[in-house]
Symmetry: C2
Subunit: 368 residues, 2 copies
């Protein structure tokens, strides 16, 4: 569903602006570069909800102290194949990038490696970190818990985040397989798109404060903002008839691995507020992993089989009225290729807001 024309900006200029804005907030150069790269990667891959549109929220977090520009990160526990990092309340991207690097290093040494992070913040698109494994002929895994938006099966209030799961696996001639999915039916951003288009949402996306599925887009978003009950439905929808308990189970699994395992916040303890209602650091957590493909079989043989698997699916008979079966990641790779040629697509409102942010921070906004 299109939201109208986007403008195109040159990616290096956009990157430079993001880095300067974060540097102005005292974020170290390398951390700023990592954060900018994760944000721009989302816009390039067509996930604009997690792209540079988020920069203002990070700047606000750094301003109000819920995000720390120069956090004291700490390795809390470590074994040959696992590490737990305390992010010190810093931006989610730099600590996640380094945690995933550590997981890959451990995989290279021992066959598999894992890193969990606590006391962190929003880390952008989960797929970014899973895809880091691809350059090392590894299968990558990335998860995070997140702000409370999703109702458990038979529940009336949101208790879990949209808790995404991403897994990336290399292929040969085909694009890598990159699954990157919220465990809810849709993320909140999808409702915001429907609201801007003044459209009702399909039944199965969200519930109202009584726990009943609803099509009232604005009502759901208002309830979510005010924590007034109801929320997004887990993958599979309301109740158990269409498997909603499975989506709820996946969201809970992510909360176990990202919240409970590293000692981060979980369930409705994430994004806490103080007694006066002021936001505190979000205290969310992440889980990263890597498996070395050649620990199991030669990389070439694996990639050949990945190609064959993908081709079998793409060449399979289609449902009537359909002409294409997709592999996960394929649309995003194609979009990123196009955007590499044509420039990063930005919603004009996002571009305007970045320009305004530049003015506020006295940081040059030099985009075409």
């Amino acid at each position: 569903m299109s939201e109208g024309t986007k403008i195109r900006v040159e990616s290096e200029a956009l990157r430079g602006f993001c880095v300067r804005a974060l540097r102005r907030m005292d974020v170290p150069e390398e951390d700023a570069r990592i954060t900018a790269d994760v944000l721009i990667s989302a816009d390039m891959r067509g996930t604009s909800s997690h792209g540079v549109a988020r920069l203002r929220r990070y700047v606000n977090g750094l301003r109000d102290g819920t995000m720390i520009a120069q956090p004291e990160t700490e390795i809390v526990a470590e074994t040959p194949t696992t590490v737990l990092v305390d992010a010190g309340g810093g931006l989610g991207q730099p600590v996640s990038f380094r945690a995933m690097e550590a997981a890959i290093e451990k995989a290279e040494a021992y066959g598999s490696g894992f890193a969990t992070v606590r006391n962190s913040n929003h880390f952008g698109i989960a797929g970014y970190y899973a895809m880091m494994a691809l350059d090392h002929d590894c299968i990558g895994l990335s998860m995070t818990n997140a702000s409370v938006l999703v109702v458990p099966t038979f529940g009336g209030d949101a208790m879990l985040g949209t808790n995404p799961i991403s897994v990336a696996a290399p292929a040969g001639q085909e694009w890598p397989f990159v699954l990157d999915m919220a465990t809810s039916t849709v993320p909140r951003g999808k409702l915001e798109v429907y609201q801007r288009l003044e459209k009702p949402i399909p039944l199965g996306w969200a519930t109202d404060e009584t726990g009943e599925p609803t099509t009232d887009t604005g009502h759901v978003l208002k309830n979510l903002k005010e924590r007034a009950g109801g929320g997004l439905l887990p993958l599979g929808g309301a109740g158990e008839l269409l498997g909603g308990h499975k989506g709820y189970g996946l969201a809970l699994l992510v909360d176990v691995l990202c919240g409970v395992l590293p000692g981060a916040a979980y369930a409705n303890l994430v994004y806490p507020k103080d007694d006066e209602g002021n936001p505190l650091p979000s205290a969310i957590g992440h889980f990263f992993g890597a498996w070395r493909v050649d620990a199991f079989r030669p990389v070439d043989a694996f990639e050949d089989a990945m190609d064959d698997l993908q081709q079998r699916l793409k060449n399979a008979p289609k449902a009537e009225g359909q002409d294409r079966i997709y592999i996960h990641g394929e649309k995003e790779y194609e979009e990123a290729e196009e955007n590499a040629r044509r420039g990063v697509p930005l919603n004009p409102k996002v571009a305007d807001d970045l320009r305004a942010l530049g003015d506020e921070l006295d940081v040059e906004y030099d985009l075409a």
Copy 2:
């Protein structure tokens, strides 16, 4: 949805019968005991579709040579944290039990451990192996690919299995968290229940040969049997509107880890037939894993937080008309407790068939 009264049998007598039947087919004593335990565990936990009702299929497989009673298993590749086992076409349960043991041993030594299996057969309930990790204060993971029943998003024909994912994590006072889910909306067994009750299935469970969702229970089952097109829908249903591409992605993920990674069959290559249409060994694969909890944080702290997470969810506000929010595994633990007191519940038809099987094999059926 109840299928009528079940009879109750004593678990040790049932176990003895299963072991004797498998022994008669030349399955080694220990392998027979493991297989019987996995089957009876399914009946105890309320998953009768994967219980002793399957015994006849295993006996048939051992008779027709698609399953090998005394397979030559082989370790094909190994690193400190990973192992790939060729099951030699044997029963799925014994090799899976030992593979999960190996994964746990590796986790105990290095923090995490993984085992993949190829050239295997139906392994019973995925949760059995994930739950093996609990006794070792580990988080357990278990997956398998399976016979072709599920249509990819926008596809007309089944190309993937119901490919289940199970994860088990220990808790303190509460039951462990045990997610054990097919990545399809429902398993085939659920359609068989509806057929016996002569009920139409809900829209969102399956498609007909045109790729359209259908409520015609018998038509779907007939199509699946004859591979005549259509099939079960992935979690999230048809198309992308309610997230069907996510369920399809999870099924594909399982095929990558269980099929491609160990060099097992995948997609529609599983359960192959020879030129004359006779079944060949299924060639499916499995993926097992374990993470040591105390690699990340003390087991007590983890278990306390697991209890708190569960209690937060259980005590959360309910949707109108609902009085309980469940944690995954809870229903099954409660059912297993009841069945431990009252005996293993069996469908009378299953009990009759076991008796007939005993007669065929000249194996004593001494159940009450």
